[in-house]
Each structure stands twice: as C-alpha cells, then as structure tokens.
Subunit: 311 residues, 2 copies
C-alpha cells in the first residue's frame, strides 16, 4: 500500500460514518458510499456529536454507486452483515490493485464472505467497540468507547499474525485519535467479542430492554453469565482458549458502563433485519462442526429468528 492511503467507506451509518469522519478529519482521502442519506450528505456533509468533541464536515466525497467511486487502497465494509450478499457487486469495482478489505462487522463469518467476493485481496477485520447511533440523516451521535481491534483473516482459520496491512491501517486510525489494538488471532478476537455480544444483544431484543436492566435483575444477570460461559466453551471447541475470568471482566465492564441499547436492538426497533445469522447462527454452526452444542445460545437464536421473521 502507498504511504497516503485512500479509503472507501461502504455504509455511512452510525459506525462507518463515525470512523470515516474521524479519518477524514485527520487528513485521509475518504470516499463515502451512501444509500438513503446520499442527497442530504452531499449537500450538508456529516455531523458528529461525540464524547470526544463534536465536529462537522460540511463537504465530504459522497457517492450512491460504487461504479462512480475511485479505486481505493482500503475498502471498509460498514454495512450490516445482513447485506453481505451485496459484497460481490460492491467490492470489485472499488478495490485498487493490492487493496485491502477492512470488514467492520459483528459476529462470525463475514470475512469468509468478503474473501469470496474479493479473491486475491487481503481481508482485515476491524472489531469495533463503539457506542454510536445515527440520530438523523448524516448525523451521528457517539456516546461511548470507540476502540478498534484489527486482525487479519486467513482462509484456514489459523492465526495470521500481525501483517503490514494491519499496521498501516492501524497507523491511520491511531492518527485519527482512535484507540487501536493489533491482534495476531482473528478467531480468538471474534469469539471474545461474542462472549459479550451474544447474551447482551439477544436478551435486549427478546426482553425489550437494555444492558443496565439486564445487569440489575439477578435472574437475567445469572442468565447472561451462563450464556457467556457457554460461548467460552464453544470457543474452546473451536480451538480458542478464553480464560473463565474474562466472563467476570465482561460483567464488571457492563455494570460500569452507561445503560446501552445494543445495535441488534436498535435494528429490531427500527424494523430492520437483525444480524441473527452472523451473531448466533454462524457461531452455533462452527461449534456444532467442532462437535459441541450451545443450548442456551440456540434458545436465543430460535427466539430471535421468530421475532425477526415476524418483524
């Protein structure tokens, strides 16, 4: 990759809009793909209300079709995983030669889909720890956190180590004031994130609540812990060791944080399709292939499938 990298942001929502705007403000050459907000953002730019300081980008490079975009060194996929069937038509036109796909999504299995859609290109995952919501067209409210953990995908699922692509992207994010972590094992990072995401997102939807109420009630708190331990056990069958103490760390972190409406719940409340397969179906199938069942996760999966279909 050249020294000054050109970025594409596919999906300029609460997540893509936030990181893209931060990169842009830090001087990167950023190109935003938009759908419903295209006209508004083209005319008015992006507005970011952030706990790190509010800012406005009155003019951004906005597109509604990848075929109008320049080829980019880093193509950040910030779409919901439910839109990954679009990747084969979205990625090839916008990837420069040697360009890297940066997948900023929840759950498991997105990297495989990106790799299939962009053969020959490196796929790096960006696992985002971000509390952010879109509050209006081109208007993002960043309420907490923001760190990104980068890890490289390898087709055989093995540790890929820390690559030069990761270092380069991590450098740009760090220069934009984002807390960055470079990890050598994508699968471990994915399962670690699932430990929190699986119980919190699913129970928030099923019980119509937020993380604060789930922690305050002794029954749901015990259920959250049991589900977390089940995910830890699932990771182990897939060859990734997460220490049991990680569960208590996640509980303490959630108790300490501002009550938060998980992104799955935000989608459900907006009557959008939920990332049920990415966050539940794919981990269940991965554990099952390795010979383990996760009955509590499966229960949540089935409850969410029912609610998603009705929604």
């Amino acid at each position: 990759m050249p020294q000054a990298r050109r970025y594409a942001i596919l999906g300029t929502g609460a997540l893509g809009g936030f990181y893209g705007a931060r990169l842009c403000r830090a001087g990167c050459d950023v190109h935003f793909l938009l759908h419903s907000d295209f006209e508004h953002v083209r005319q008015h730019g992006l507005v970011v209300d952030s706990k790190d300081g509010d800012f406005v980008l009155p003019r951004v490079q906005a597109y509604r079709d990848v075929r109008d975009m320049p080829r980019c060194d880093v193509v950040a996929v910030a779409l919901k995983a439910t839109n990954n069937h679009l990747l084969p038509s979205l990625l090839p036109p916008v990837l420069a030669e040697g360009g890297v796909v940066l997948l900023m999504q929840n759950g498991l299995g997105g990297e495989e889909e990106a790799a299939r859609a962009a053969p020959g290109h490196v796929v790096v995952a960006g696992l985002c720890f971000l509390c952010s919501n879109k509050v209006g067209p081109g208007h993002i409210c960043h309420s907490d956190y923001g760190a990104v953990r980068f890890a490289q995908y390898s087709a055989d699922g093995a540790k890929a180590g820390v690559s030069d692509s990761m270092r380069a992207i991590g450098h740009d994010f760090a220069a934009a004031g984002i807390e960055v972590d470079l990890l050598d094992d994508l699968l471990l990072a994915r399962w670690q994130k699932l430990v929190w995401n699986v119980p919190m997102s699913g129970l928030s939807v099923v019980l119509d609540t937020d993380t604060g109420a789930l922690m305050a009630d002794p029954h749901t708190r015990a259920l959250v812990e049991d589900i977390m331990h089940e995910v830890v056990a699932g990771a182990r069958t897939c060859g990734r060791h997460i220490d049991q103490s990680f569960v208590q760390k996640m509980i303490d972190m959630t108790v300490a944080m501002k009550p938060y409406r998980a992104s799955l719940k935000v989608d459900f409340d907006s009557r959008l399709p939920m990332e049920v397969e990415a966050i539940y179906g794919n981990p269940l199938r991965a554990a099952q292939q390795a010979g383990a069942r996760m009955p509590l996760v499966e229960t949540l999966y089935r409850q969410l499938k029912f609610l998603d279909a009705r929604n």
Copy 2:
C-alpha cells in the same frame, strides 16, 4: 362424604366460574367466593358462553368473605397459585369435618401448600384441560376442551391410588357433563401437564404470541420440542416415566387446536402476577433436588422472572 355434596368455589374466574356454574346447573349446592365481581354476580348471577351450549344462572350463592360461607364438603381452590399464601386463612373456615380440598391449579407444589393450610383434610388435585376466559364481571367464555383429571395428594409423593373422595367428586363432575379421568399418580399427572405448559406458556409470554404462531414457525417449534424433552427428562429424575412419544402427541394436539392464548399470557397481558414459581420454579427445584438440571426451562424461568418483576 354425604351423598349430596356441598361445594365451595374459592375464586370465581374463568376456571372456577366455569366448573362451579356447571356443577350448579347440574343441581349441586354450590357457594361462590368472589372478590372484585362480588356485587355484580350477587345481582346478576353468572353468564357462561360455551361451545357446549350457552347458559345463564341468574341467581347464585355469592360471598365475599369465607366467614359468611357454610362449611362445605368439597372446597375447590380455583385461585391463581400466586395467591396460595391466602390458603391458611381461606380454607379452615369453609371446610366441613371430613371435607376435601380440591386444588384446581397449574404447576407443581400447590397441593403441599393446601395440605399445610388444612391439616387433617384430604387434598385432591383437579388438573384442568380447559380453554376459557373471563370476558366481563361474572361472564365466562368457554372456547374449547374442559376435561378434568383427578388425582390424590400424598405427603410422601408416592402414588396414592384412586380414592373414594376422588370417585365421589368425579361423579359430580361427570353428572355436570364434564369429561373426567381418575388417576392413581398425581406426580405423573403434574409432570405430564408441565410438558405442554412449560414451553407453551413461557414462550407465549416472552415472544408475545400464541400457540398457533409458535407451532407455525420452524425455529420455535423445534425449541418447544426441545423444552418438552427436557421436562420429560426432569420427570424421569423425579421417578416418573413419560414416554418420548408423549412429546409428539402434545405437538400434534397443539397443531390441531385453535390458536390459544395461554393463561400465563392472559395474566401477563392483564398485568397480574404470573404463576412463574408454580410452573417453573418448583419443577426446577424438584429436578435439582433429584440431581438434574433443566437449562432451557431455567432460561425461560429467568426470562419470565425479569418480565414479571418489570410488569
């Protein structure tokens, strides 16, 4: 018990009102305890819309205090299990010498509470298979089924056999046109009923739905089956064998029946306390004491406890 038995109905709602009215119409001497509907029923009697034929009882013997009631040979407890803390003050004043407590409730453990509240009296359980709702004061709508399975309680939990008390009560119900079954094993009957009740009632509340939708969706249908098998396994650890084929029978029966709003769901929707301990907590504790866990039932229990507390 004398030949012509006098009945008390404690709790004149969808269930107590229905069976009491049927006994009354068949010529039994029936005394109804009421709470909020007392004035209305004293003036207007009971109205029963039923798939077996509508009827009205313009005058019934109505009370709002057990101390005003005559002593009765059979005292039917048709209150919700959440009101069982009232039994020590309700039962003694209305039980005749040698009188029988007839407990018509869901779940597990109600007979123990009734036996403690009425020492020296026989306790018979009436397990009701009834689709009935109260649609107004003293106004009951009976939409389907209606059979009652009688079984006698024994303090040690062993098979008590078919007693004379059961035969006598069964005779009266049969004479009132109710389908009657006399069973020799209460605990087996209770667990059999839980096989249906645990998944259907709980999932109806958690997913805000009815039995028809739970059967129509492949994910919830599979979840229902898994929970049913877990309850069958729980029964086994408590020494009661239910054949695996019973699960398929329950599924087929539910698919065939009119979509139904379970009574737990009716209570939840009316913002009344749910019978979570009777239907979930007590079976979980019984299985646990026998050395078995029921993780899916426990998940439902915890979800319901959360919703019940918030409601």
